[in-house]
Amino acid sequence: MADPVLTIIWGGILAFAVFMYVVMDGFDLGIGILFSTMQVGRQRDTAMNSIAPVWDGNETWLVLGGGGLLAAFPLAYSIIMSALYAPLIAMLLALVFRGVAFEFRWRDPGHRAFWDFAFTGGSFLAALTQGIMLGALLQGVQVEGRAYAGGWWDWLTPFSVLTGASVVTGYALLGACWLNWKTDGGTQVRARRLIRVLAPLTLLAIVAVSLATPFLGNQYFQRWFSMPRVLFTAQVPLVIAILTWRFARSLRPNHELAPFVLTIAVFGLAFVGLGISMYPYLVPNSITLDMAAAPASSQGFMLVGAAVLVPLILAYTAWSYWVFRGKVAHEGYH
């Protein structure tokens, strides 16, 4: 029923959707995480305004990730969502708080402090739970037949806490790099200072997760270190090292876009690394892409739409970013 080529293509499209989400909502959530470190008033307003026109579109990639998984790999969707029940619901509620704060903050100046907390707390919790879910999936979930068979706290382990903290740090770095690019004056100065702290922390997190993953079992060690695979997989840390060196050099005052782009590139390589660890499994050790694939008629029907619509979506999303190009606020406007 399922077609192996369509299945690979859909695996790729979903990986693309998840990566788009991680980068785009990543810097949104990162700004939320850093929000409490900014001064009330101009700095916070500027930071929030820099993402107000685009956050909704950024978050839509999360819906595509969930909806696409249901459509293309329904079995994996049903198992993963049950296995990650508690962190997933916590993430959804966190996103409720952070999403409405964009509007409510301005509608209710008397409770601005509360909505600022909702924004920063919601962003932090959403990032943390996303990282925890990544770790929980990597460490594997218990499956019997076509259903999740584990307990309700299986997701909580030292490894998933490590991935949770890593994602929080990484998103915060993305957010700081975005602010460095899109703002000026005091907000930008603060963003630069944050980058100098967050960049080493993010690198440390990547190294820690990379070192821990092969020892989780699930054949991760073989997928990375068996010959001749290692000739390919070894390129990933190598390129990350080169990018890190470039990143360090880009932290000079006249580089505004470069740190953001380089951070995205490092995220991209970390993502490739995850792909190396997971493939061909969607649920480590139990469900492969092929096992979970919807029939060719379902995947083919969607592919027609995706082939036309995803480029169109990228085009008008780019247009929307272009409309709001440039620095968000001008220093000394008062």
């Binding site: 029923m1 008033g41 101009r42 500027t46 305004n49 820099s50 107000a52 026109p53 909704d56 579109g57 978050e59 839509t60 819906v63 595509l64 969930g66 909806g67 696409g68 249901l70 459509a71 293309a72 329904p74 969707y77 049903s78 198992i79 969502m81 049950s82 029940y85 508690a86 619901i89 959804l92 996103l95 409720v96 999403g99 409405v100 509007e103 409510f104 301005w106 509608r107 601005r112 076509r146 259903a147 999740y148 068979a149 309700w152 919807a294 029939p295 379902s298 029907f301 739409g305 995706a306 619509l309 979506i313 008008y316 929307s320 409309v323 709001f324 968000v328 606020a329 406007y333 008062h334």
Partner: protein
Amino acid sequence: MFHDADALFLARIQFGFTISFHFIFPSFSIGLASFLAVLEGLWLKTGKAVYVDLYKYWLKIFAVVFAMGVVSGIVMSYQFGTNWAVFSDRAGPVVGPLMAYEVLTAFFLEAGFLGVMLFGMKKVGKRLHFFATLMVAVGTFISAFWILSVNSWMQTPAGFSTNSAGQFVPAAGWLPIIFNPSFPYRLVHTVIAAYLTTALAVGAAGAWHLLRDSKHEHARKMFSMAMWMAALVAPVQIFVGDQHGLNTLEHQPAKIMAMEGHYQSHEKGAPLILFGIPNDEEQRMEHAIEIPRLGSLILKHDLDAPIAGLDTIAPENRPQAKVIFWSFRVMVGLGFLMLALGACSLLARLRGRLYDWRWLKRFAVLMGPAGFIAVIAGWITTEVGRQPFTVYGLLRTAESASPLAAPAVGASLVAFVIVYFAVFGLGSGYLLKLMSRAPQPHEPEPANAPAHAAGITPAQALAGGRAETTHG
């Protein structure tokens, strides 16, 4: 599977709760987006300031409604997996692609153009901005199209076969799945409901301000537009609702039996039960007030037609009349009140007194929330009426749930209830606050427009919607 009855019940409550809350926002934003497109179109065509003022006034309200719709909608896209894993696995190959199309054709379109619509009035030209508004409005409609196709397929499944894993899979082509038997009726009925809901909310805001100042130009304009909508669309909606009901009678007769409270079959001419106390345990209607034979006339358009009752349905397949008998009456009752409001407004208009009759304005204010209540009542009627199945007649609700323990579902339900009431309760309060302020000449744009887009300072932005824009 291994879940117990409590977990199943809690999961049903959770889905019903989260989707009912969610449904309130799109039923407002679908209508409001179209209303905004009409206002901006009229402004471009006539150049009259009243239209752009009303546009900016309702845009601020739309932004809050839309934000609440987005965040409550993201919850829905994951609820299928968290609480209804077996349904997701088995129905995913059919309903999944329809939902994926909703994301690709509607959500991205709305989100992509929303930023320009909300904050871009000074960044792009008037025509391009109008285009953005149109795209958002079209997006809300496309979204309704796909999600109602999914919902209709669960009510009247068509065009599928089953594979060895027990999954529903497309049999041949997607058109029979998308355009399943109840879909056209449900789509028209629901989209009109959204328009009517918005018209009543806009009309109530207009009437509220007219009660204070019957000469207020902006309030007059929105009241008049809303009353036209109510007068023209309410009768159409009642006709469409009747057609939808006949379609349901054909495909889901048990739902109609429960809605009408027909526990017993009638061989010749069934009564219309106006009110009564449904007793599902004993399968009889207590204290019924009924009009003989009218039930047959409405359902079969024939006074003497026989009507089958729930006694012809196997007990394990019966929906609960005690819920949908009432929810159906709430919806229909409100529908006729909407018809009455529209008719009264026509009368007032004919006499040239549309803005003068205080009782009409009071009536319109009272009817402000009627659309939301009717939408939820109708939704409950059709969804509870689908029970005890998720895919009607084929997949039982009891077999659809995730293998969850009751405490896990219960804890998440409590969290949803607390967060939703707090967040959306406050949000509704902000909406009322925005609506309680009358639209002004030179209505300001949303206060949180990015400084480079609207040219307002953060200090003014913090002062809320009252801040005037200082261009320059």
